[in-house]
Amino acid sequence: MLSHPELFTLSVAHMDCDAFYASVEKRDEPSLRDKPVIVGGGRRGVVTTACYIARIRGVRSAMPMFQALRLCPEAVIVKPSFPKYVEASRAIRTMMDDMTPAIEPLSLDEAFLDLGGTARLHGAPPAVTLCRLLNRMEGELGLSGSVGLSHNKFLAKLASDLDKPRGFSVIGAAETERVLAPLPVAKIWGAGPVMQGRLEKAGVRTFADLRRWDPRDLAARFGSGGERLADLSRGIDRRAVKPDRAAKSISNETTFTEDTADPEVLDGHIWRMADKVAGRAKAKGLAGRVVMLKLKRANHALLTRRVTLPAPTQLADAIYRHARALFDETPQDGPYRLLGVGIAEIVPEALADRTGDLLDPAAPRRAAAERATDAIRARFGETAIQKGRALR
């Protein structure tokens, strides 16, 4: 366990998975564990990710495959399988969702988190909560990550890279300048080769070099970016952790324990998925104008169907009815192994379910029943009240 005088006050973190794709592959194929693994190939023939064994040999991301193999001829090359990475990424995201709502994902395998104000909720300071995340990732998913904890995004990202893999680095306010000074300016996140070339021309190689410049001179030489350079050289970064942009869709899916073609059983799944989607939409105050149905056949062939509604909805009843209609239109050529229901074209809930249906006069009563059900669940728990079809 690490110790640091500011450990209890720092709250901005950057979590970066260690050799994410390669780690997922090793986890799923234990025989690869002690071998150098390179994920890549595909169309462009470059390294996407190299495991740490391969990295010792000098293999790096974005390196042409032939060059990587020259450095490490015994490497095992694995073609990337993104569905697996997405699944692992989602699982990690769910763990992070339990920690804070302020999550800003940068890609499948890294994200910023702001744990400010969560100490009472978790009964632990951010540093401990982050350690729990890394432990859960290792224990439940078999994947390791590194965390940087600091007082802003720039330093958090810098810190996560200091002690990889399985790292946990802290940059406190007091030592910010000392830590930065010897680091090369190439560490500036977002400074591409062009900017680095210009900095080098100006005789700037390290953060210490950069600090010697007057901010006004930097602004004069590098334009608007110069101001930011001056700030960064002092470890100042005012950008907040921005939770991901508004959801584009809300969906839920389930893979069955046993493939099925039984419409009764599938109907039960459609209802449960619709109910879950509606629950999430209601929790976020959102509604959707499109209802989607996804089915995967036993042979993994994927079927997706969607329908645009005359008006957006967030009601399980409406989502279920439209998903069920989509299902009824689909040729019944199961068995299926997976079923998903979702909504898209997301709008605020104030715009939803505002116009009744002349031909469905019972709809307002069903909607009222659903709202009453929601109220009962909020008070007595999710399973306090359920529809009969949820038990199919």
């Binding site: 209609a325 009744g356 031909l359």
Partner: protein, 371 residues
């Protein structure tokens, strides 16, 4: 086959054909128009297997015969030929080409065998009658806006044409998408009493407009359980009808609404359009606030702005506030041919009834919107 035809005549015939053919179809022959010439006539036939249009054009037939050629291409050529030119279409049977020539312009178009062209089987119609084009046009024009585009309720994707009772029998057109409904009546033509109720698809309703352009003409209508045919002097449109049953609309038309608003239809439509301008939402809600002889229309879009407009109206019931989708109000107001639109309300949660003055032959229903 060899025919000579006026450009304008050919343009009209091929124009009808090209609007029926499916542009994205995967069956090549369905992109073609079948041109056939017997001793005295040239006919142009096109179909998408749901709708078939046949146009009989005036032409000089030098040699009888038939062939098929791409409808869109032929239409483009004819459209670009100079007005007043005479076009000859020649097919020698051996080359598999149709030659199109006008003045010094010559085209040679690939053909497909006429034997492959599908014809919508002419069949026994249960009911045949005729009525003025104007009456038929009114039935469809006033109901078309309410046709649903929702695929899951496919039986709403058309106009339900049937015989109904309204102080005597009438020929009635009904369309609804669940949010609004239009019910239009016409005098029952002789011979239509036994007509089966049919749902005329949206595309057919659209194509039909060309057939009904001349309101004085008399249109022959033939109906069976599966097809409907409209025949004008030179154009014949045959369509499949939607295989489904139209819901019982009679119970959704309110009968007890008593709060009556009478408003100038044009002023109303203009005011709704004006206040709706501030919101860019797809389902814009307009609030109608009614007080004695006063109607305040307002839109409040939290992130865009607010708008309000006031109209002098005839209303002497208790004050009422009710919201509607702006588009629905505008579309209904646009149907009103007379000066005044009459709204009948019950409560802010109940559907409103709209009439054109005191006319009972055109009735609209619109669902309110929570505002």
């Amino acid at each position: 086959m060899k025919i000579t035809i006026e450009r304008a005549e050919l343009l009209a015939a091929v124009g009808h054909a090209q609007s029926v053919v499916e542009r994205r179809n995967t069956i090549p022959i369905l992109a073609n128009v079948l041109i056939s010439a017997d001793e005295s006539n040239a006919t142009f036939r096109a179909t998408d297997l749901d709708v078939e249009v046949v146009d009989r054009a005036n032409a000089v037939v030098e040699r009888a015969g038939a062939t098929t050629v791409n409808a869109v291409t032929l239409h483009e050529i004819v459209r670009k030929l100079p007005d007043g030119s005479t076009v000859s279409l020649t097919e020698d049977g051996a080359s598999g080409r149709l030659s199109v020539s006008a003045g010094r312009s010559n085209f040679s178009l690939a053909t497909l065998p006429k034997e492959d062209f599908p014809e919508m089987a002419s069949q026994d119609y249960q009911s045949e009658f005729s009525l003025p084009a104007g009456a038929l046009k009114r039935l469809f024009d006033k109901s078309e806006f309410a046709i649903s585009t929702e695929e899951t309720r496919y039986y709403l994707n058309g106009v339900y044409l049937h015989v109904a009772d309204a102080n005597g029998k009438v020929l009635r057109a009904v369309a609804t998408d669940g949010h609004r409904l239009a019910r239009i009546d016409a005098e029952l033509p002789m011979g239509a009493e036994d007509m089966p109720g049919v749902i005329v698809p949206r595309k057919t309703v659209r194509e039909l407009k060309k057939l009904l352009a001349d309101e004085e003409a008399v249109i022959g209508v033939a109906v069976s359980d599966t097809k409907i045919r409209f025949r004008a002097e030179r154009l014949t449109l045959t369509s499949k009808v939607i295989d489904g049953s139209f819901p019982d609309y009679t119970r959704v038309i309110p009968t007890a609404n008593s709060k009556t608003l009478e408003v100038d239809a044009k002023d109303f439509s203009r005011a709704v359009g004006l206040v709706a301008t501030v919101s860019s939402e797809r389902s814009r809600a307009v609030k109608m606030k009614l007080d004695e002889d006063r109607l305040v229309l307002s839109v409040n879009a939290p992130d865009a702005g607010q708008a309000e407009d006031e109209l002098a109206v005839a209303y002497d019931d208790e004050p009422l506030e009710i919201g509607f989708n702006a588009k629905y109000l505008e579309e209904i107001a646009a149907q009103v041919d007379r000066e005044n639109a009459v709204f009948l309300f019950n409560s802010p949660g109940d559907p409103a009834l709209v009439r054109e003055g005191g006319d009972e032959t055109a009735v609209y229903v619109v669902m309110p919107m929570r505002v």
